[in-house]
Amino acid sequence: MTPSFLLVLVPLLPLLAALATVIGGRRLGPRAHLPAVVGIAAAAVVALSLLVVTARSRGSAETPRPVDMVTTLWQWATVDDAYAPAHDSHAAVPGTAVGEDAYSARPFSISIAMRLDPLTATMLVIITSVGLLVAIYSIGYMHDDPGYPRFFALVAMFVFSMSMLVAASNFLLVYVFWEAVGACSYLLIGFWFQKPEAAKAAKKAFLVNRIGDFGLAVGVFLLWLTYGTLDFHDTLSPDGTILPGILGQTRLADVSGYVGGIVGTAICLLLLLAACGKSAQLPLHVWLPDAMEGPTPASALIHAATMVTAGVYLVARSAPLFMACPGALVTVSIIGTTTALVAALIGTVQNDLKRVLAYSTISQLGYMFACLGTGTLLGFTAAIFHLLTHAFFKALLFLGAGSVMHSMGGVIDMRRFGGLRKLMPITATTFLIGSLALAGIAPFAGFFSKDEILASLHSKGWPDVHHSAENGHHAMIPELPSALSHSGTMHDVGYRGVSNYDNHSSSHQTSDVVGLDALNQPAVWKALFWMALVTAGLTAFYTFRAVFMTFTGPLRIPDEAGDHAHESPSVMTTPLLILAIPATFIGFILFTTDGLAHFLAATPSFTTPSIVKTATASVFHWDLAIQGTLAAALGIVIAAVGHLGRRSDGPQLERWLGPVRPFLEHRMFIDQLYAAVIVKPIEAIAFLAAIFDRSFIDRSVRFVAHLPLALGSVVRQLQSGLLQRYALAGVIGVLAIIVFLAWRL
């Protein structure tokens, strides 16, 4: 079992499960979950083994080296001699092909290729393990639903698409599965399609995501035009030259391998637009709260733990591209932090438990973007660290909310129930654990990842306080990739003597400063840090407001629940208990061993010199930890003052908010703004276009078409309205013209 075979297995097993469910779902009846659960479980085991394989092949702790194992399955499309980049000096590797050949046309060649590296391995484990627990939970939750097989087919299909998305070694494949997960999301949000709101929410999610996809598509086109390939990995052309992939060892090792300036910034901003769509960041966040119309397990898996993190993955994966564009990087942080703050503010006044969690997801994803934008190794690894902890504790919270909804007869408005801790002890306890993790209370998982995020922002705002690697802290810097250390790659060719093509690039690698670059200064970063800290407090507040409203105080149950309000069956509570374990411990374990950061540092994308030199010795930041904890504690205290033990409809804090409250309750009127500024005008234009089409284009073409016939009305008898006559006239005319032409020539 070679690693490449295992890598193919991870997506393949869920795919087979999905197909099996589609084909045999009806026959399996109440056991229609079997293929999906078994398939995803097997995929999870394989993903874990891949994690081990990856960890082993990255070398020892002292001499880590990048892991980069490429598997090519088949050629998707090829167009020979398609494009000769006129300007890119990195078109071909020097030494082997300089001069004419270096600029010869390259094929538009797209292969179905997958790459295993630490980032991929980490993501695969998250996707399959959360996917498995959600699938098991759904056995109970979706019980008796008429669409039972359809649900499991879609979940398996989603796990397949998402695994492919993070394993793809090609920007086109990323785009393919970017949209594929979007389609799964569309079908799952609209799972109960009879509900008009669900159908609307599904359409909205797809369309808002399409705007993001617009960015990804154009970004991919620009990447193709700039780099002459879409592959991540280096490829070997038949004549022996190496075509450096966008994120391949050759280009990564080159200090000027990436295009900056206006083109580079445009590419990065377009990728960021895509990430904003999928990860529900401002200004494209509007679809995620509505997406809660879907079944809760789907929300947990797709709209909390995995799919929405695809944007974070994309930016992290494209880190070297962003490193060449400081303006784009700081934009990532600004969007992330702003989103975190705005979503947290809106989250404080929501009364729908799932919507509180949805805004919390948007806010936490904003956190991840905030630290991605710092452009430091710490920032990138912290984002993935938070992605990981968040996946577990947010899935736990969503499944907990689902458990509440399940026993409340489908009611999810927190004002209509309360005091459920006695009724549902397991749900209440695990929900509390998830909340502590989300609020960032030590020693739960979220505390450690949030601390790293704050640290990465802090290091940009107060650079003199932190020591960069240039000052000698090389403790965890992986060895620079060189030809001899490429043990993991497929193309171990000793082609890199001297990087002698750097001089070519100096003209292209201009330092022309884009306007955005001016934002990259400590004052901005300081502001972002404080915004992040405030968000931490707000997060703790809305989380515990939800906890107190739902689980404390006197027991209240809505009528819809009937008399069978009870703790959920064990098939649902077991996944909760399992998820509570990583939500509690995984942050502490990964932080103290520093395992994840070390592991991720061997990701090819993070081994480019511009990132390696930002590596710092890992230190626990006591000052930041105290600030973060104080903010969280303050939030919890305010929540307790407002809601602990009281009837949940005594909204103390909301009253304090005064006029701000309706503003927040209406989600800052962003939906209405889009409707007025974008949707309505386009509909108006479309309406006018349709009128124009009917009354102008059609008439004028008709007029022109009838002109010859009108001329022919001189000869009255011909205009009999019989089609044969017209046809005959046409043929005679043609013959006459031919005779004339023959005579003239």
């Binding site: 167009v79 001699d81 797809f206 046409g730």
Partner: protein, 575 residues
């Protein structure tokens, strides 16, 4: 294998539907069942034979060396100078369109299974005649033969719309006929000019397409005032003829009308195959034979394509009739093809060529499904339908598949073509045009991507209204005994299943479909690409753009005195 030579095989495929039409007529006395069974058998056998021929082509040496396969050339109207031949042959450019024609004919017959029960004999005979014409038009290697098939597609379709159509069928049929006839007459004039020009330089009057292409590359039609801008005149004549077929904005208004009124079977063939003849004409005639004019016109056609994408999508957005909406989506999707073709970049051209097939599959599927909805509820109004998914889950599932294909969801076929077209367009905009055109090209390419967003908007809006939400369905008109099952019936599954297979197949391994036509399409467009590249070189770039306006104005002025007598003379003589 030698029992059936490729040439015989090809002739057999073309003639089978014709024979089938005869059989349908013979069995007409035995009732509806016999009629439609014999029609269906014919179509299926033709499809099998065509598929087998395609396989033989793929394995042949001709395919590898980009030559014409299964060439047949029989003298037809030969005498004196004239040498009009019945010559047919298959090459990379014809290959998939040929297969698509055979495939969609099967679909057309099976979707009409229950829908057409009155005067069924005539209906199925016309469908089969149409199939022969469609197959013939893509394999004809002689201009006259091409034109005969080209015109011959109109007649069956005219009657199919005019007799079996809906309320306004007569108006639709006549509009359709006049539009396309006017266009094709102009195209014929252009083609004849080509023949005569070639004859005047080589001394022999040949109608053979390959010989003409070779001849015109040696003696190109003149582009300057001395030559009467002849290349321009011919190009415009062909342009109007083919643009009406495609249809390119603003020649598209016949299409929604024709589709809305046409019976489902005719819509399937019309959207799936007949629209492609226009693009095929550009690829087969305009681009190899008139490269200089194509190069000068390319920016304008690229712009019309991009504009058509957004325009078609916007108009589709406010349609209330589901079939009309899909007709306008066709306008939008064919805009992609036009854009890709006239980007004159290899990636875009190959994408456009594939997109022809993709659009054929997805629009045929969607029209077929709308027809099925109409059969059930006797309405196509989006407002009066709702919640179909509950009653007809498999119908809904297939509609989703074709919707996703149409809006370019990756993994399905539509994405491949769209992506390649847009990638090529951006490539052209990035490095391939003169600086003063670059901005326009970038904006036009972005309009193409905007079309992808709008496409999802109108299609998903329609899906949401028609299939999801509360059930508010009019009573079913299916005359089966149980009114409960509104889902797909067996003949509907037979009609759609093959399309679904290809939608997935092309999406997953497009290389299988790109490779066989790659060389052929590249050869056809090489001259135009080169001419355009020359024109766009920085040194001459300015001159090139000047030429566009210059030529447009003066060709109009110059033409008048020459052509007016042509039209007036015969009339005055008669009077």
């Amino acid at each position: 294998m030698n029992l059936l030579s490729p040439s015989t095989h090809l002739l057999l495929v073309i003639l089978m539907p014709l024979v089938g039409a005869g059989i349908v007529w013979l069995v007409s006395s035995r009732g509806l069942q016999a009629v439609r069974q014999s029609a269906a058998t014919t179509a299926v056998l033709t499809l099998v034979a065509a598929g087998w021929l395609i396989l033989r082509y793929l394995m042949s040496t001709e395919a590898a060396s980009n030559q014409v396969f299964a060439m047949v050339s029989v003298p037809w109207l030969t005498g004196g100078m004239f040498d009009i031949r019945l010559s047919v042959g298959l090459d990379g450019l014809s290959l998939w369109l040929f297969g698509l024609s055979a495939l969609l004919s099967v679909t057309a017959i099976f979707v009409s299974w229950e829908a057409v029960t009155e005067r069924a004999v005539g209906f199925y005979m016309l469908l089969l005649l149409l199939e022969t014409a469609m197959l013939g038009v893509f394999v004809a290697r002689d201009i006259i033969l091409f034109y005969v098939f080209f015109e011959f597609t109109l007649v069956p379709l005219f009657f199919l719309i005019g007799i079996w159509g809906h309320d306004e069928r007569r108006k639709a049929a006549i509009t359709f006929f006049i539009y396309t006839l006017a266009g094709s007459v102009l195209a014929f004039l252009g083609l004849m000019t080509i023949v005569l020009w070639n004859a005047s330089h080589t001394g022999s009057v040949t109608f053979d397409i390959e010989a003409l292409t070779a001849g015109l590359s040696l003696h190109p039609l003149p582009m300057d005032a001395d030559g009467g801008y002849l290349q321009w005149v011919v190009f415009l004549a062909l342009l109007i003829g083919f643009a009406v077929k495609v249809p390119i904005f603003p020649f598209h208004t016949w299409l929604p009308l024709a589709h809305v009124e046409a019976p489902t079977g005719a819509s399937v063939d019309l959207a799936g195959v007949l629209l492609k003849i226009g693009i095929y004409g550009f690829l087969r005639f305009s681009m190899p034979m008139l490269p200089e004019a194509t190069a000068v016109a390319a920016p304008w056609l690229f712009a019309l394509g991009a504009f058509g994408i957004v325009y078609g999508a916007l108009v589709a957005l406010v349609q209330q009739d589901l079939k009309r909406l899909i007709a306008y989506s066709s306008v939008s999707h064919m805009g992609y093809v036009v854009m890709g073709l006239f980007a004159l970049e290899p990636v875009a051209i190959e994408g456009a060529n594939l997109q022809l097939i993709n659009h054929g599959l997805s629009s045929a599927g969607l029209f077929a499904l709308v027809g099925m909805l109409y059969e059930r509820f006797h309405t196509r109004s989006i407002q009066s339908l709702g919640g179909v998914a509950k009653k007809a889950p498999w119908l809904t599932a297939l509609f989703m598949v074709f919707t996703f294909s149409s809006i370019g969801l990756p993994g399905l076929n539509g994405f491949v073509g769209e992506f390649m077209i847009l990638a090529g367009s951006f490539q052209r905009a990035w490095t391939g045009v003169s600086p003063e055109l670059q901005q326009s090209y970038l904006i036009l390419s972005l309009m193409g991507v905007v079309g992808v967003v709008l496409g999802a908007w109108y299609m998903l809006w329609a899906v949401e209204r028609v299939f999801f939400g509360n059930s508010r369905l009019p009573p079913s008109h299916l005359d089966n005994e149980s009114q409960e099952s509104l889902d797909l019936r067996w003949h509907e599954i037979v009609a759609l299943a093959p399309l679904t297979v290809f939608v997935l197949w092309i999406g997953i391994t497009p290389a299988t479909f790109l490779a066989p036509s790659s060389q052929s399409v590249r050869t056809m467009t090489l001259a135009s690409s080169n001419a355009f590249n020359r024109q766009m070189q920085p040194a001459q770039g300015h001159a090139g753009t000047e030429m566009i306006t210059h030529n447009n104005e003066s060709s109009d002025q110059q033409d008048r005195p020459k052509t007016n007598p042509t039209f007036q003379k015969p009339i005055s003589v008669k009077q």
